[in-house]
Amino acid sequence: MMSDLFGKYGTLFALILIVAAFAVASPGAFGTPGNLINITQQMSLLAIVSVGVTLVMAAGEFDLATASLVSFGGILVMVLFAAGVPAPLAFVIVLMAAGCFGAFSGFIVSHFQVLSFVATLAVGTIVGGVTFMLSDGATLFGGMPPGVRDIARGWTFGLPTLTWWMIGVSVAAWLLLDKIEFGRRLYAIGGNREAARLAGVRIVPNTMAAFALSAMLAALVGMLLTGRIGSANPTGGGGYLLTAYAAVFLGMTVFRDGEANVPGTLVGATIIAVISNGLTILGVSTFLQDIITGSIILAAVLVRRIGKAK
């Protein structure tokens, strides 16, 4: 029974253990409410990208264009601002443009059955080129309407605004995947494409929708990141690719066996954010941090496997 619980929630226990360990090691800094709230802000962008990736992975596919789309979103919104497009319209244009790229990937992957790895890598390369062209390769700064920064900075109702974004996106994605028929279709496609197809699930439109939503979330993160740091860099999203997948894959080991799921992804993103926050606060050097981070992640997934009777 005990080992059963461990098998199912091992990675979650690991997270609790990590938090507890840091809280003991550094009660004055790590364990303060202020810092814990700050972690939610630091993890929010990663969490939103990862939730987007979760949608695509529920349908059994990869989207490697994600990172490029984050950069694209940031650059395009700055270009639109600079061109004098009002903020709300600019947001809509960016989301639509990203959605089109996503839908395009989804179409190629599902209609022509090209491996999503190659297809999205190619689309990502194209998006990257477009982003560089838009910005001439430069970091874009200035021209941001003051109201816009506020969507990514400051506090709202007692929590950082970015934390609210994360909460909102996560709840929406969770409803979408776990409560709505659309989600069941995606999981069916991801679990056994052929069986889903023969049971009347329409593969192409559903896959396209998953990719489009994921792309839109990536572009949203690009815009929020721009708001957060006040400028946009054409490779600014590059760091999210592997970390987002790490979060999702970590999450696949929690709650549900081998299925990408939103609560799991959040646990994954939290683990990553907590480790880097905690180690920095403890004053561990960056290089050692890498080694420790890798080891903790391994331990977090192993705990569960070892807990599980073979």
Partner: protein, 282 residues
């Protein structure tokens, strides 16, 4: 003339500014310039230099490349009789001319300025990226100056992750502020991006904190922060426009059959502070 600009760092601000400035200089002279970037990848850079040599342009411009990192390829270009102009790189026998601000000196200047501003003693946070040879030189400059200031101590050092250096710097600084509270006197940023991140962290976490930030590059966002009387107090601006202009001038000379003035030409850096921007902060 056909001129190909090659660099691994086009999305970094100084490199990009130099490339664009050089292209503008080229346009003035009617050159056909192409920019090739290899996204931080030196293996790729070597291959692209080879391709460029095969395509026989009239000149090659390398930006932010230590020529020793691609020695064979630069030698091949020289052997093919293609002049190689280096901006912000290193001089060498296969390099026609290297126009640069000495990165080591930049590091020294920044450190001296910063240490003076905190009265020669205190705790600093160091943001660095030693994987970039130029930036690494600045760090060596810091080490040199530190020897003269025994009362300055590096309380924390953070290797800045690229891509995404601003947000990485911001998150690290947020965490340092939790760790040290007010016990930080200054931030030493090997390039402006993490310094900008540190300022953003201060704004959200501890707007009343006393520490100051200084960086290198003259990044527009950093200059804006200096002008707004934030914690960001100075940045060393390499004169990219001037470097590009000198590089283009020298190349013009060579293409016309002349000689370069010298194998290495230094362009002094400019310190940007609230004073030089004409604002007074208190």
């Amino acid at each position: 003339a056909d001129v190909t600009i090659l660099t691994p760092y086009i999305s970094s601000i100084p490199t990009n500014e130099m490339a664009q400035a050089f292209k503008a200089e080229g346009d003035k002279r009617g050159w056909n310039t192409t920019i090739i970037d290899t996204r931080n990848d030196f293996g790729q850079l070597a291959s692209r230099i080879e391709d460029t040599v095969n395509a026989r342009p009239d000149a090659i411009v390398l930006i932010s490349v230590d020529h020793a990192q691609v020695g064979d390829q630069v030698a091949a270009a020289a052997a093919a009789g293609i002049p190689v102009v280096s901006l912000d790189g290193t001089a060498g026998k296969d390099v026609t001319v290297n126009v640069t601000s000495n990165n080591f000196d930049l590091g020294v200047m920044l450190s001296e300025e910063l240490f003076k501003a905190i009265g020669g003693k205190g705790k600093i946070v160091k943001f660095y990226h030693s994987a970039h040879p130029g930036v690494h030189q600045r760090e060596l400059g810091l080490d040199e100056v530190l020897k003269k200031y025994p009362d300055v101590r590096i309380a924390a050092a953070h290797f800045v992750k690229v891509p995404g250096p601003i947000d990485d710097g911001r998150i690290a600084m947020e965490n340092f502020l939790r760790q040290f509270g007010d016990d930080i006197d200054a931030v030493w940023a090997a390039f402006d991006d993490p310094g900008i991140g540190a300022e953003l962290a201060a704004e959200s976490e501890r707007p009343d904190a006393k520490f100051i930030i200084m960086g290198i590059d003259g990044n527009a966002q950093a200059v804006d922060m200096i002008k707004s009387c934030t914690h960001f107090k100075a940045t060393l601006r390499q004169d990219f426009g001037k470097m590009a202009a000198i590089g283009a001038e020298q190349l013009d000379e060579v293409l016309g059959g002349g000689k370069v003035d010298s194998g290495e030409i230094y362009v002094p850096a400019v310190m940007i502070t609230p004073q030089t921007l004409g604002v007074t902060c208190n």
